[in-house]
């Protein structure tokens, strides 16, 4: 599994995930590419089974590029995405069966689409997961896969007035803290922001490393706070 999240700030979205791959030959690799930009205002992310996940997000990007006029805004892209993800997953499942590999039901692949919806003038988050691939829309934030620890932390640390700049630091914090106790979460972090002014912006490794550096004090501070409140 992994930890994948789409968080909502007052001025945009933050999409974040780790890079640990699950399933088949990719088990325990930390190089899985889980993010792609779909168009200026939209990004897509995958978690769980690495191969059908990457195939799904790549195919969505290709589909949107080839149908630019139809698939310009968030809602039509989201409506097309479900069938793209389902088709890629079925194709992968068939190839696995042909090779004699049984995929356990608990191994899932999921997709998160985040973007600015010009039709409603709102930032939107949608989610699909195997095997049904039913779209679920989220008004708040979305945490997927190994989400429990991040939800606990988010309950304590999130506030609705948070900005995208602060929220991406919170996303890094959630990923690192989850990786402490979840062996299936880890590897280089992948982050993107979506704002009205700049659209989808992927953070470079250097920027993420700077956030990690800045966060060192914060990790210690949080541990100190936890120890203090438990000393009460």
């Amino acid at each position: 599994m992994t930890l994948a999240m789409a968080l909502r700030a007052y001025d945009g979205l933050v999409l974040a995930t780790d890079s640990r791959a699950t399933g088949g030959a990719h088990q325990s690799e930390d190089t899985s590419e889980k993010f792609l930009q779909v168009n200026r205002d939209t990004g897509v992310m995958t978690y769980g089974l690495a191969v059908p996940g990457y195939a799904g997000i790549s195919r969505l990007v290709e589909t949107v590029k080839s149908k630019r006029e139809e698939l310009t805004y968030f809602r039509p892209i989201a409506e097309a995405a479900g069938s793209v993800f389902r088709a890629e997953y079925k194709e992968w499942l068939t190839s696995q069966k042909q090779q004699g590999h049984e995929i356990p039901e608990e191994l899932k692949v999921g997709f998160i689409l985040g973007g600015y919806d010009s039709a409603t003038n709102q930032f939107s988050i949608s989610h699909w997961e195997s095997p049904e691939f039913q779209e679920r829309q989220y008004d708040g934030d979305l945490l997927a896969a190994q989400w429990h620890t991040a939800r606990f932390l988010l309950n304590k640390l999130f506030y609705p007035e948070i900005s995208v700049a602060q929220l991406r630091e919170l996303a890094v914090f959630l990923l690192v803290e989850t990786a402490i106790t979840e062996p299936t979460v880890g590897g280089p972090l992948q982050l993107a922001t979506i704002t009205l002014g700049q659209g989808f912006q992927r953070l470079h490794e250097k920027d993420i490393n700077e956030i990690l550096q800045r966060s060192q004090k914060r990790f210690c501070q949080f541990r100190k706070i936890l120890l203090e409140v438990f000393a009460l």
Binding site: T149, F152, I180, V229
Partner: protein, 222 residues
Amino acid sequence: MGNMIIAIQTLTGIAIAVESPHLAQPEETPNIIPVNPLTVLAYHETLPLGEQMVETVLRPQVDLDSDIISIATQADHAFRKFVAQEEVQSPIGFLFFGYTPKGEGTMLGWFYADDQTRTTRFFPYCTSRPNPVVGYLVKKVYTPDISLTKALELAAYAMTQSKIVLAQRPTIEYEGFNLVAIHPERGFFWLDKEAIESIVKHNEERDRALCIKCADLFLNER
């Protein structure tokens, strides 16, 4: 998914939080039972099956006056035989907590699911089902010299926070939880309703303090 059980071992005892239909009414709480003064048994998943296995397998077939290791070993054998004979389909689990005659705190889990049984020993904590929130809190807060009282508070806090986190998932069976402890010399004891309510209230204040202290954690330093 069964009821949630959280146990934390300290140098001065074992703290146990058990998700239960009733608060601190031992006689009405079916999912944790004292086996002998130094050993308790908590069960999760299918509660009627758990009761049946305690009454028809554990009590008649196992020498419950022996120590925890011996009880767990005998129970393992008897339970395996029972699930094979009865062709049990439901997942079921038992957690033994207690002290050996040498005073070693021990937590042993016996689980049956998908035609497989396994017995596992835990330290310093265990849960009846995987629970990342408990693991995270123990990792952050647990120190080897933590007192039994603090461990009970931590177990209660972890129980409450896990329930909050899981609230939107259909995995919670009960609203309340009980707290019990095993002291290496004084043995098993329940915390009464007032003591649990006091810990819950204290934890609410603790949680509020945590939120307040964290309020400016993500303000960028310029």
